[in-house]
Symmetry: C2
Subunit: 209 residues, 2 copies
């Protein structure tokens, strides 16, 4: 709002319909259709503008899609960072992080599905974008494992990679599932991550001795 005032009426309105387009795309994603079978015309229709006006905001649908991927990764990372600050007041970092993650998946199923789907689909550019997001998570995890837990660089990397794979994969399991089942999946994921952590711990000990 504050920022919008300095933006001028024109730019303000433009930003508004840009958001409308993004929201429209997300809405249509929540349905059973994947992003690739989303149509420019339908998105424009739902956003309340003429099909041709779409081009005032994005060069094509792919550009919109990449924007969605970026936004999704960003909000998820912010959420997790907040969660980690919360645990400084006590609590298991594994538990809090995973529960936060699962809550995000439940709240933003459509967009998270986009993330997972485009990881393996469509253009190389899309896959790179998603991979970049996953790398962010991995990097933050590595930092934690090395600095706070004192793991070697190699072991921290190996561990982080495995954990990211497990957690995001578990996120995919939450799609056709109700709340109680989701909690079960979260619980199972927590245990699996602890399994990895324990394995890494054992490996470190074996190397030291």
């Amino acid at each position: 709002m504050e920022k919008a005032q300095t933006l001028g009426v024109r730019a303000q309105q433009k930003e508004k319909t840009r958001r409308a387009l993004i929201n429209a795309a997300m809405n249509q994603l929540s349905a059973e259709t994947g992003f690739s079978s989303l149509s420019l015309r339908e998105v424009a229709r739902e956003a309340g503008i003429a099909p041709t006006s779409f081009y005032r905001h994005f060069r094509n649908m792919d550009e919109l899609g990449l924007t969605l991927v970026d936004e999704c990764g960003l909000t998820l990372r912010q959420l997790l960072r907040q969660a980690r600050q919360r645990i400084d007041k006590g609590g298991s970092i594994i538990r809090v992080s995973i529960e936060t993650f699962m809550q995000f998946v439940a709240d933003n199923t459509a967009i998270f599905r986009l993330l997972l789907q485009e990881r393996t689909g469509r253009s190389r550019e899309f896959r790179k974008a998603v991979e970049r997001e996953l790398e962010h998570f991995k990097a933050e995890l590595i930092e934690y494992l090395r600095d706070e837990q004192g793991f070697s660089a190699r072991l921290a990397d190996l561990q982080s990679d495995a954990i990211v794979k497990i957690v995001f994969s578990a996120g995919a399991d939450c799609f056709d599932v109700d709340d109680t089942q989701r909690l079960q999946i979260a619980e199972q994921t927590i245990q699996q991550v602890r399994l990895v952590a324990r394995g890494a711990e054992a490996t470190r000990r074996a190397k030291v001795e």
Copy 2:
């Protein structure tokens, strides 16, 4: 061939064009397009039949897609079973299985991508089908861990689930990658699976004492 003789000329020819349709779909999948943006007409064209003749073989494109998913899972499982028989003559089961898996991904990128993609996409029916395939792998792994390695049911389940998640996720990392990088990924995956195994081992010991 032997079976085909007893099938009659008509049914034989029908099976042939059915395969042509399946192959056509796989071919078009190898390109950058996901399954959802595959068209009945184009598939029929590549298979060398009229669009309308498609319906003599599948009720719609989804039915074709489900067939593809089933076939993919089947051949992959056969491959892994063969690999496991080979290791009875010595060799690490983890290494051989994962190397076989990675080789499959390299050889059948298109269809494996379908598997991963439809896991998170399109209709619920598709997701169920893929999930069923993943369950097959998990089940075989559980059996091995419980019977051969003596893990408890719960620990075998937890472990298998984590391993399947890691391995399939690693498969997705192989898409935009050359042979040497693929070998690196395989190596890393092997180490990660060993991490999980070591963690499970440590957990078992802790419980026993």
